[in-house]
Symmetry: C2
Subunit: 253 residues, 2 copies
């Protein structure tokens, strides 16, 4: 397919690269900043543009992969097209694209930072479109990239995105707080690596409720109070420790 | 070494098995419940006991691997011994064993559930003891099990344990909340597996602050408010979402 990529951030870069490697033709890369557009366009052998008025109207697919709150702006500025217009956002309804004849969503469900290399093969891709034909097109495109492509409504995608905020964004923040706790101890964060790996591996085989360990899961108040005492003076860590400990205790009841 | 194992829980089972495989001789397994002692003792080719008065006084090493709040009880009931007495707890000072001539701590830093198979090779083991000679003995024993053995004071071990509560116990709880968010959507928790793996993998290569993604890290208030609205009626999820989102925003400032 001839594809126009609108955006040059983390998702746009990884998705554009994956589509390029799957032998699709990225014809244009748009970014508000010409330098950003150029950088990605060069890698994908595409034309770089920084004005939506210059968008090729004849591409097969337009992938809008910009910050969620910029999508509507882009849609207002984009010229008419018969091509299929999709966005890649978890929490944005397909309806924001309803001014187009052909529209949908192509949501790769993964955490993207530019510098991390990613295999797309195992990344679930959730698709939705305004017609059965467009849905088929997106399912087929998804299968070019991944072994796990499925239909999902805007509502389901929204639930999955919130779920990911917990299981990915908040998880990473927990790593960061763990690092923070260690910072005055003289012990390196790397000591946590095997534990972090095993914690993730365990929930590939067991449900999180079975995998739960630690003082809260045993309701070991002696240790919990000791930890809270040690976190005195670090108000935020203590507050999060207490809320999550109580939440674990409640879930176990 | 001739080793007496006091406890038959998750840590005792995994540690006992690892010591057994490293050709140490587990001579006794103690548990308050004779059936639990028997089950583990059989696997380790050891004698099962359920009364601490029957403890062999001549072993080289006594490993107390019971719930943190039971350690002092065990110590009160244990007969005198010249052998080295250690516990395996993160948040308990070495001093609780000071009535013995030779004592220390042998802390394998990992999350243990019985049914998950574990390789000990990469598990950091933190040791501390009352004399240099006992420290050397524990360092040597640690090296029989793992490539990563280090000295750590009770204070350092305490910090590491709190850090693990965040990076492991709370992380697992985030997986559980993620599962909870999905439960009415018709989407399976397994969809989160690649994301969970990648989130863990990323912090092997990047610091958690670099690896952070998601609406909070972009301070995308439009999505944050939308998520909070969707979590209305699920008070606990909403409360945790809000606290952690604000914490991420603060850390990024």
């Amino acid at each position: 397919m001839d594809i126009v990529l609108i955006g040059s951030g983390n998702v746009a870069s990884h998705l554009g690269t994956a589509l390029h490697h799957a032998n699709h033709h990225i014809v244009q890369v748009y970014s508000r900043k010409q330098s950003n557009a150029l950088e990605l366009a060069e890698q994908l052998n595409a034309e770089a543009i920084s004005d939506l008025a210059n968008l090729l109207p004849t591409a097969d697919l337009y992938v809008i992969s910009v910050k969620d709150d910029v999508i509507t702006q882009v849609v207002e500025q984009m010229p008419e097209t018969k091509g299929l217009v999709v966005h890649t956002a978890g929490s944005v309804s397909v309806d924001v694209l309803s001014r187009y004849k052909n529209y949908g969503v192509f949501y790769p469900f993964q955490t993207f930072i530019k510098s991390a290399h990613l295999q797309f093969d195992n990344i679930p891709i959730l698709v939705e479109a305004n017609t059965e034909k467009n849905t088929s097109t997106l399912l087929k495109l998804g299968k070019d990239l991944s072994g796990k492509v499925l239909r999902a409504s805007s509502e389901q995608r929204g639930a999955l995105h919130i779920s990911a905020v917990f299981a990915c964004n908040f998880v990473n923040h927990m790593y960061r707080l763990g690092e923070d706790v260690l910072k005055d101890s003289g012990l390196p964060f790397e000591l946590l690596h095997p534990l972090i790996k095993e914690t993730a591996n365990k929930v590939m085989k067991f449900s999180p409720s079975v995998a739960q360990t630690g003082p809260a899961s045993r309701n070991d108040q002696q240790i919990i109070q000791k930890h809270l005492k040690q976190l005195e003076g670090q108000h935020e860590l203590a507050q999060i420790y207490e809320l999550l400990t109580n939440s674990i205790i409640k879930f176990n009841q």
